[in-house]
Symmetry: C2
Subunit: 199 residues, 2 copies
Amino acid sequence: MSTGTAGRRVRGQGRESLLEVAVGEFITRGYDATSMEDLSRAAGITKSSFYHHFASKEALLRAALERALSGLFALLDEPGATAGPALARLRHIVRGQVAVLQGDLPYVTLLLRVRGNTATERWALEQRRAFDGQIAALVREAVEAGEIRAGVEPALAARLLSGLVNSVVEWYRPGRPGAGSLPDDVARAAFEGILPAAG
Amino acid sequence: MSTGTAGRRVRGQGRESLLEVAVGEFITRGYDATSMEDLSRAAGITKSSFYHHFASKEALLRAALERALSGLFALLDEPGATAGPALARLRHIVRGQVAVLQGDLPYVTLLLRVRGNTATERWALEQRRAFDGQIAALVREAVEAGEIRAGVEPALAARLLSGLVNSVVEWYRPGRPGAGSLPDDVARAAFEGILPAAG
């Protein structure tokens, strides 16, 4: 049970499931306050088994943040995000962002909590800024093309859009009723109002 | 300079400015990771001077969170929030929330980061839930009165509304251009859409 190569996969822990455990601990305890000791204990394996899969705590963080970021950036290359009017492309991306958030909730939660104390965190912040920059450029494009009602300030709209979408991590839990329509619901709220007046 | 009662107010630090320093440290370091030692150093006074004003770190947190919460709850008693159609009352409250956030940015930021590890944090979370509950009730009232376009689900709308408003703490910094119109801009985004289609 604990000899030879089996010792590296106690309780069948592969790289993927260790990452999942680590992300859970980072979210609960905070990244800075979590030690490799804490992570090994949570995963039920020895520290050296843990190091076999990930060279350091920061390597775990990097892998987790990469997962969240790759899901988000992949959206920008989808046909719905690259062709057609800017407003329709934005709607496609917003729906996709919510779906990524739903599918990779802990990873996206971690990404949104990053504050920039380590090189990896600063890298992730830069990536987030790059993503938000692409959205902001698309918002400007929609405003300049006259697709958006007059008076909307592009930089503010881009920030509020990002804030609305990202706020979903604060309360969304998988399996709740309404999860399937959430991407469309959030998009409708962003483009038509959270509380649009009747008539 | 350091004798008698003057010793209690080195550098003229009163209760209010110590609270401000503490909130800044809590936000930067995280509440759990901040010691009274850190706070005294940041304020430039001795630990015992600090204890003269606040009995404990948790007392500081409580005072800071009370300030944020009292500003928010006061909104609910304003005439604009208590009389008239539910949708207009909601709009009044949303504008007010943004104004409180602008005026007491560090305090509201701290409130929104609270996770519930201590009795004070759990108390603050309960207060936040009570506040959100009042907003949610008002949203339901507006939906039931037919003031809102059909198809809007009250619980989801209340969550998105709170998420939109609270997301402003992530990027708002006092003194930037556009600060004066921000309450109206956020309200317009919430009720008419962040990116409403033209025409």
